[in-house]
Amino acid sequence: MYDVCIIGSGAGGSPIAYELANAGFSVVVLEKGKNYTEDDFNKDEVAVSRRDMFTPPLNEQKHIINEYKSDGSFTRFDGQEYSWNFWNGSLVGGSSNLMSGYFHRMKPNDFKLKSTYGKVKGANVVDWAISYEELEPYYTKVESVIGVSGRVINHKQQEPRSTNNFPYPELQTNKVTAWFDKACFELNFESIPTPRAILSVDALARHGCYYSNFCGSYGCASGAKGSARAALLQKCDAKVITDAFVYRMDSDESKVTKVYYYTKLGFAHSIEAKIFVLSAQAIESSRLLLNSKNKFFPNGLANSSGEVGKNLIFSAGGSGKGRFIFENLTKKQQDELMQTGLFFNRSLQEWYDYEEKGQKYKGGTIDFLFEHQNLISRVNRELYDENGNIMWGKKLAERIHKTITRSRVLTFEVFNDWLPTDNCFVGVDEKEKDKYGVPVGVINLNGHPQDLQVGEYLAKKAVQVLEKMGAVEIDYNISASPPPNLVAGGCRFGDDPKTSVLDKNCKAHDLRNLYVTDASFMPTGGSVPYTWTIYANSFRVADMIKKEFSV
């Protein structure tokens, strides 16, 4: 019997594996995907972005998606039929291998959203069970163990820090960031260097970034990116079993007794452990609990509250862009614009909260970055003319050549709170099954109107910067369609077992040896990408588990 069995090897599970294995406990990690190392990762756009090599084929594993309308009715979509999926990376280290690593901490008010901003009609907003101060030491730990590079500046939304600066210097930036800083200065906006979970120098027995030009969506070939695999799993002797899909957890009335998994070839195995940690990413973790009903838990494991799967959240907001064209630039500026490889790395958090018409709103973060370098994708965006007609021949070739070689797009991403609502939750389908014969997850989607209102407010600020910089073709899209890679909730933590699944240490109220440590625990998500918070919380829970073993 192992001391600890962890289901899922991403940012939620790996800190536990790292901490517990390095403290001398026997740890096994079950990972559905394959193992890839730095030697395996490359920049093959066809494989990674066109053929989706890191996510399951939809004819084998899919989701059902119910999209709710404001009147409470919904439309059902079969994920396979509509090529709509919420997979983010089935491989050792999970989707942290493929992240861009935009790392922002949540801010103190994010931990007390309800007490700070009040109730929002139609939204299930609650305060967190812990404070920023309790998580701060772990945010700091992530900076040094995972490796966060950046430069702290004193801006009005800067959260309190226990150290003065990041442990690794900021990554090199493209010269266009100076245009951005100037525009912000003229607009009286505070430009912030974006912290990244990417090593700028050789450290932690990993290589520094070599500016490959292909970061987000791709595995890192130098180990600079702070994936759970590079930063944690390869630095401990936790046993990782790959191609292991966990389909069921068994329990008695008070503890998990065993988990069952299928190998790639469909053989069933089981694992026993003293403590089980579930971290399969928010949707899959809820799905597994709901699929693990037994006589003690007829509505799903750890679900006496009926809250498993509920209050699923994403990052609200959207994205926008503006184009810089050679015709409007000097030769020097053209050269600066086309300098590839270096990062843009600028953010705005000026409106992390703001007032409008006398009301205080929780706002968010805007990250700026160059359009992804994926060439086939960029060319495919040029297939249609101004009237929406498909082009071909010489006309198309001229347009592609001009667009790619004489202009460049600066994009922005808006992150604001996706308010939790009754109609946004995970279920399991009664009929549809995956290739293992296990009921597929049902993702019920509903966006709160305030999410769009805040997103619009922020996007308009970003547009001001692009205009000031001299960009053309500026547009943006704020919508209620969820980004599949920014998902949280489903197993809220809280003090009350009737309204939450987990206690403040992310242990199930119902089961004394089950922890859930991916983003499922988050009752609200803050207005930043989640990965840093997932890592930090998982390090926090690891300390709790160590304490439990020492009793």
Binding site: K43, D44, M53, G393, K394, L396, H401, I404
Partner: protein, 164 residues
């Protein structure tokens, strides 16, 4: 078929060399293959590839055999080839590959107005760009000619093998 010098090559092309029955009304008008049509069609859609001496049509063999391309997507390409030829027969009384370039342009303009036609052209162009602008390991972007045309240097490290 005579283009393929050996049985091995013929088998490798598989789906691409399978017969497509072009109908005129209820009558069988002609038999062609996806490969013959797609080769001409891709050069019509993007003559720049030919100018750069890039062969994009052979890449379609990878697509037709790819485990990650759905059966429905493969069928759609095959049907698109059939419908394109049937449009050619309807407009000019012969299959697409037998037409003059001005006539082929007329056929393309005609099908681009139809929902299936627009999707078909979109897919054929997308696969063409995968061949021309994907990693040279896939065989189309020979000596990085496609990348050089767009002053693109590609990402490193490069793949050591194709993802099939």
């Amino acid at each position: 078929m005579q283009k393929f010098s050996s049985r091995r090559n013929f088998l490798k092309l598989g789906f691409l060399s399978s017969s497509i029955f072009v109908m005129s009304g209820c009558e069988l008008f002609s038999i062609t293959t996806p490969y013959d049509t797609i080769k001409v069609l891709q050069y019509d859609l993007f003559p720049q590839a030919k100018k750069l001496n890039i062969d994009t049509s052979s890449y379609m063999s990878i697509i037709f055999h790819h485990t990650r391309i759905t059966k429905e997507d493969k069928e759609f390409i095959k049907n698109g080839v059939k419908w394109l030829n049937e449009e050619a027969v309807k407009m000019h009384k012969t299959i697409y590959t037998n037409l003059l370039s001005t006539q082929r342009e007329e056929v393309l303009t005609q099908i681009a107005k139809k929902e299936w036609g627009e999707s078909f052209l979109h897919d054929i162009l997308s696969y063409l760009f995968e061949a021309m602008l994907g990693d040279p390991i896939y065989g189309g972007n020979n000596e990085e000619t496609g990348w050089k045309w767009l002053a693109f240097s590609g990402g490193k490290p490069r793949p050591k093998e194709m993802y099939l």
